[in-house]
């Protein structure tokens, strides 16, 4: 009962603080993306170590670079959202 009430209160406060809640949701989404990209980069690195075929290596290299570049963007987005959220809380 208590947990249901808690959920209901959270839901209501989420709607009443629409902007803030949206930011937090977005922050969570970026965080999840970052974790996924990290896993992807790790997998690509492992594959790169295992292969000796130059064509395949070039392809994996390219994929790794792309994943890194996207991670960089995701990091920047994460920082931006976190700063915005902190500024709101102050």
């Amino acid at each position: 009962m208590n947990s249901s009430m808690e959920k209901l209160t959270n839901w209501l406060s989420k709607f009443l603080n629409e902007g803030k809640a949206e930011n937090r949701d977005e922050l969570d989404r970026v965080k999840r993306k970052l974790e996924k990209l990290k896993r992807k980069s790790r997998t690509l690195k492992e594959l790169l170590e295992q292969t000796s075929d130059p064509k395949e290596r070039a392809q994996l290299d390219q994929e790794l670079e792309v994943a890194k570049a996207i991670r960089k963007k995701a990091h920047a987005k994460y920082r931006e959202l976190k700063d915005a959220l902190n500024a709101r809380q102050k």
Binding site: E26, K33, A58, Q62, V66, A67, A69, I70, K73
Partner: protein
């Protein structure tokens, strides 16, 4: 014709009624206020559904018992089975629910709606609810004027409940005044005839008001005032249950076939329940007496007993129909079949297409506009439809067979095949027949859907509109490219011919990639869109003819004349533009969701300029 006469007849009857029985005014004003309250309540709930309802529906309707529970709970909360029915039809039309799930919700909604009778009979008639109505209306209206959508929604909810209370109050007062002048009980009929007459009245009243809830409140207040007998009230309640299906039938008129099947299922359920309740009315009334005794309801408390009867016969209906739910859905699928338009909508391969029929939009149904999630979902599905049509037109415009594109046969064989310039399709004609109508109606529908979407959903809508425009531009660029391609692919000059063959192979490679991405995307929810799209953009950058040393060599050694070179450059630009537009579109289609969460993936995917920077850092194939 009947529809045209319906409104004037109702107005005339009401006018006549007011003239001969001025006491009717208060009762009918009560009904009107009650219905207005329901409208406000609907608006209030719609404000809270942006993305939330979709997520909720996905999680809570994957099993039949969950669908049923969802129907009961949502109708109990919203106090409107009509609203739940209309939303369910919208979701079904947008492909967010299956027919069995939808039917489960409708069955549940029928049970959920009976809670309204309990509330009115147990609370509304005993307490002076108009006292609560006033502050609710005041707070509600203040909130309605707020700019924050959530507060506005809350305002509509409060005002809605306030109007419902006020409506009940007026109906109650009206019947009390009515009692002094006319006694309806004088017209009461007994026996089977009476049952049938009152069932019919209940049905008609619900058809007119389009709310079984309003009819039931009217029945309860009339019963409480002693204007109708207990058995007449039972028959009226049965009639109201059947009459309520009209909302679903009207709602399904603008829906697709699935929506129509759901409305039919609703009708079948309520008819079966109604007929069973009529046949078993005496034993059911006996059961009500027994249960009422157990529940501590006094023998003369007919309003609560009516509520119990209402719940009981709807439960009976669910128990009767639940084992046959799959059979019912299968029968409806067999009875209500799509007209065989599918074949006509698919672009034929190889042979010159001589059919003149224009392709129509598939998902833009009026019913899905009732809800922001379903409206956006319809735009997403129609954009995918537009993508498939454009893909086919581009493939035919470049004389690329779908079978080859959708296989793993090496595309280099294209470069060796001889091409007959006469077999290229007329792109203007294809555009007119396969794209124009879908594109135009998609934009119109998007404009209609826009006002009810939340900020994230609006971003998705803009992205989808831009994607549709990109697709059309890709088709138009194909038309420009086709002009020289026809000419040079059949040319005797082997150097320029090879360059155009290369452009064609490049586009064929891209179309093949897009086909497999679309296939993969449909089978997966989490599709790594930002990675896939960035890779595609990187490949395009690397393939740009401007970066080709071989072309420079040909020009330097005068194998390509200046005039031909400029044509090649222009056409390579068209080729790039087609590729970019197609990639932009697939990016949106891979990430778009009716909850508006795809924006992040698109923000993270590398844009063309970012990819250019990256190509400078990455070693070219074979360099490392």
């Amino acid at each position: 014709m009947i529809r045209k006469l319906f409104l004037p007849t109702i107005l005339l009857l009401l006018g006549y009624g007011f003239w001969i029985m001025p006491e009717l005014k208060e009762i009918l004003a009560g009904v009107a206020i009650f219905l207005f309250g329901m409208l406000a309540l609907e608006d209030g709930f719609k404000a809270f559904t942006g993305g939330l309802l979709e997520r909720l529906l996905k999680r809570t309707t994957n099993k039949l018992w969950k669908s049923l529970t969802f129907g009961v709970v949502s109708t109990t909360l919203m106090q409107s089975s009509s609203l739940v029915t209309i939303i369910t039809i919208s979701f079904l039309s947008a492909g967010l629910l299956t027919l069995v799930q939808g039917v489960g919700i409708i069955f549940g909604a029928n049970l959920g709606t009976t809670t309204g009778a309990w509330l009115v009979a147990g609370f509304g008639l005993k307490v002076n609810i108009s006292a609560y109505a006033m502050p609710l209306l005041v707070f509600g209206v203040i909130f309605i004027f707020q700019s924050l959508k959530a507060l506005r929604g809350l305002g509509y909810l409060l005002a809605g409940i306030g109007f419902l209370f006020l409506g009940i109050h007026y109906m109650k007062e009206g019947f009390e005044t009515f009692q002094d002048s006319i006694v309806l009980s004088d017209y009461m009929a007994d026996g089977i005839k009476g049952l049938l007459i009152f069932t019919l009245i209940g049905m008609l009243a619900t058809v007119v008001m389009q709310s079984s809830h309003a009819t039931l409140v009217l029945i309860i207040t009339a019963l409480a005032a002693g204007q109708i007998s207990y058995y007449n009230a039972l028959a009226l309640a049965i009639g109201a249950n059947v009459g309520t299906t009209i909302t679903a039938i009207i709602g399904s008129m603008g829906a697709n076939l699935e929506g129509k099947r759901l409305a039919a299922a609703h009708l079948v359920f309520n008819l079966v329940t109604g007929v069973t309740a009529l046949i078993l009315i005496v034993p059911l009334a006996g059961l009500v007496d027994t249960l009422a005794e157990g529940l501590g309801i006094s023998e003369t408390n007919y309003t609560l007993k009516l509520s119990l009867f209402h719940t009981l016969f709807n439960t009976l209906g669910i128990l009767l129909m639940l084992p046959f739910i799959n059979q019912l859905c299968r029968t409806l699928e067999n009875l209500l079949k799509p007209k065989d338009r599918r074949k006509r909508n698919v672009l034929p391969e190889g042979q010159v297409d001589r059919r003149q029929r224009k392709v129509q939009p598939k998902f833009l149904k009026k019913a899905v506009l009732n809800n922001p999630d379903t409206a956006l979902q319809a735009v997403i599905l129609e954009s995918q439809h537009l993508f498939d049509q454009s893909y086919s037109v581009i493939a035919r415009g470049l004389l690329l067979e779908r079978e080859l594109l959708e296989s793993d046969t090496p595309l280099e064989s294209l470069a060796e095949a001889e091409v007959d310039p006469g077999s290229f399709a007329d792109i203007d004609d294809l555009y007119d027949r396969y794209i124009r109508k879908v594109y135009g109606e998609l934009l119109t529908f998007a404009a209609l859907a826009h006002p009810q979407l939340n900020s994230n959903q609006v971003k998705e809508l803009f992205a989808l509109k831009a994607a549709a425009r990109d697709l059309v531009n890709a088709v138009k660029d194909t038309k420009h490219l086709q002009k020289n391609m026809k000419r040079y692919l059949a040319s005797d000059d082997r150097y320029i011919k090879a360059q155009y063959q290369q452009l064609r192979v490049q586009l064929a490679t891209l179309l093949r990639k897009l086909f497999f991405i679309r296939q993969h995307e449909q089978s997966q929810e989490d599709n790594d869109a930002e990675l896939v799209i960035s890779q595609l953009r990187l490949s395009l950058e690397k393939e740009d003819i401007i970066n080709s040393d071989a072309l420079d060599d040909l020009i330097r050694h005068h194998y390509l004349a200046p005039k031909v070179t400029s044509s090649l450059m222009n056409d390579s630009h068209y080729c790039r533009s087609i590729s970019k537009n197609m990639v932009n579109t697939i990016e949106v289609l891979m990430t778009a969701s009716s909850s508006g969460e795809g924006v992040l993936s698109r923000e993270l995917a590398l844009a063309a300029d970012e990819v250019t920077h990256l190509t400078a850092d990455i070693p070219q194939d074979g360099e490392n």
